[in-house]
Amino acid sequence: MAISAPEQGPSADLLALLATLADGLPRPPCALPLAAASLEKTLAEAERWGLPLQREEGGQLRLHYPYPPLRAAAVAQGAGWDTADVVVLPWCDSSNERLRHGPQGPRALLCEGQWAGRGRRGRHWSSPFGRHLYLSLSWPVAALPEQGSAALVAALSVHRVLHSLGIPGLGVKWPNDLWVNGRKLAGILVEAIPQMGQPRLIIGLGLNVHADPALPHTAISLHDAGVRTDRNTLAGSILRQWESDLRRYGEEGFTAFLPRWQEADCLAGRWVQVSAPDGIREGRAQGVDAHGRLILADESGLHAIAMGEASLRPAAAP
């Protein structure tokens, strides 16, 4: 969701406190890595960040998970991987950023919350603690310029997993959002990193899972769509599907995914406006071409669009 981001990161005290309480067990203040004087200040800061650090009877502190916590072992099992391939963090700046700068090794990283979750072009992605899925995958590729439609493929993978849960009105919105009846369920951000001859993609997913009173009305969660699910199972299934689809994409290219795109496309046949750096274009969406570009039809013909933000214009439809 595009809302304004907090100006700076959390304090070292807060991060130390979270690390101690990450297991969700209650602890007395004397067992915390903080001087008593700075505890009140740090708890107030936690509240500003929306972190559910609670003081229980007897003065014990604990981190309250509103839903069952993420577990690396459970996610890895669902993906068919070793546990060491998956890292779970309680809270971080963004899962893409941690996976990218962390030590080589883990193939996927999840977190319970992000303080600087990102959408496209630095837009803030609201990432409350313990309710949703923030999942990033590191995927080595042979060459980067050939990865142009990777974001569309990544969205189709998530679509396939969610479709199997039975969600009426689910579709992909070009290039890579997941929508339920016009409301945003998930967003994907793909970063292509050359890394001196060892190129890889970092694919980040933000998926609204559980009930969240802070979600704007333009967004929807799986809970709102009538689906009750476990985040660990879901993450494992998505990683498994990503792996299978990205491997196929590397071998066969995007054309292999055109039939799936046609099934999932929720813009096809609708009047769409695309705002791009070189202007705004309107037309009727006609699916995508073999490169994943959006095809718009207007009175001057067909146009293949690689850049820009698509939105529905139902009122302006001729």
């Binding site: 072009r121 630095g122 142009g148 990777a150 793909v190 970063e191 001196m196 791009a276 850049m307």
Partner: protein, 158 residues
């Protein structure tokens, strides 16, 4: 809009502190700027509404009176040219409120990120394949770039 008029505009630009002059006359338009790359001193386009925002490759046709308007324009410096590997939107920073990856004059190492080119929500980081000094940045932040379009000129370190 005749050639004499454009010539007078170019002279006016040279005589003053102005960076850019744009004149729209009916369906024709001319824009003369100081800071554009050499191959694109004019955007003399007629009646195409999107022409002003068209990618710079559209300016590959030679301008009608290059000599005059270019008299004061700097030559492109000699150096190693980094070109766009794809069609997309050129960004100089990781987010709108972040500092640019590099400036003209920056010293870069091989492998350092120079810019991001975005297409279809894929953020492609472009890295320097040589180390050296950034002599020239040829694309503007947020501008669409074409395949093979020059983006940076770097003086490789010896």
């Amino acid at each position: 809009m005749d050639i004499q008029f454009i010539r007078r505009l170019a002279e006016l630009l040279q005589r003053t502190d102005l960076d850019e002059i744009e004149v729209v006359e009916g369906e024709s338009k001319v824009r003369i700027t100081r800071h554009q790359p050499v191959m694109q001193p004019f955007q003399a386009a007629a009646s195409v509404p999107t022409a002003a925002a068209a990618p710079t490759m559209a300016a590959a046709t030679p301008p009608s009176t290059p000599a005059l308007a270019l008299a004061s324009a700097p030559e492109l410096p000699e150096g190693y040219m980094i070109k766009s590997p794809m069609v997309g939107t050129f960004y100089r920073a990781s987010s709108p409120d972040a500092a640019p990856f590099v400036e003209e004059g920056s010293i870069v190492k091989a492998g350092q990120t120079l810019c991001i080119i975005e297409a279809m929500k894929l953020l492609n980081e472009i890295e320097a394949d040589v180390g050296g000094k950034v002599l020239k940045i040829l694309a503007a932040n947020g501008q669409p770039v074409e395949y093979g379009e020059p983006l940076f000129i770097i003086a490789p370190e010896r």
